[in-house]
């Protein structure tokens, strides 16, 4: 079991460019979560999928951010027209059941927007 895989581990973009972050959840886990971690704001929930269906995106910035889960083996978080304030570590987590608080986190993708 390789755990939750996130790629790339580090990404540097210029202001205005697009960034796509990938997450491969643990096989068999039905729930996938995205969080953002910054020094100032700490850990923030972004969005959540259950059995590939989007359930709750209440934490997603309304503009420029989108997330998809086209199949059970991966999810993507896309940020269009990146801004310096988007710089953060983006963490993906999966859970065996969506009502399980035991979430398994990937190592994160550190996004730096210059």
């Amino acid at each position: 079991n390789a755990g939750v895989i996130q790629t790339p581990r580090h990404k540097v973009t210029g202001k205005g460019q697009e960034a796509t972050l990938w997450c491969e959840p643990i096989s068999g886990h039905s729930a996938v979560f995205w969080y953002r971690q910054t020094i100032v704001q700490g850990l923030e929930f972004l969005t959540y999928f259950r059995n590939q269906a989007p359930i709750d995106d209440s934490g997603m910035p309304k503009e420029r951010f989108s997330a998809q889960m086209p199949n059970q083996s991966h999810s993507t978080l896309k940020i269009q027209s990146t801004q310096p304030q988007d710089s953060a570590v983006y963490l993906c987590a999966s859970s065996l059941r969506d009502w399980g608080v035991e979430q398994y986190f990937g190592p994160g993708t550190r996004l730096t927007v210059l």
Partner: protein
Amino acid sequence: TQTVSQSDAHVTVFEGDSVELRCNYSYGGSIYLSWYIQHHGHGLQFLLKYYSGNPVVQGVNGFEAEFSKSDSSFHLRKASVHWSDSAVYFCAVSPTNSAGNKLTFGIGTRVLVRP
């Protein structure tokens, strides 16, 4: 809206000492409580959780936490720390009536274990 407060930003202890990390929460309904650990450069790792029953729950690597409804607290303890326990510890809450268990985290407590 639920909030999580971790009053200590930094804690320094010596190897072999005991440690207690404080967590207080506010929420009007039923919740899950949990603790996670994050080593530098890594993702979060689940330590333990509480929902109901015995207020003292055991986790991995000798950690335990105690729930107190009267104090709205869920403090984490370890009797004898090891250098590998140096990390950031996050307390988290999740309402049981939400559509899914998105976690609301505290700001974290950075623990440094000195030899």
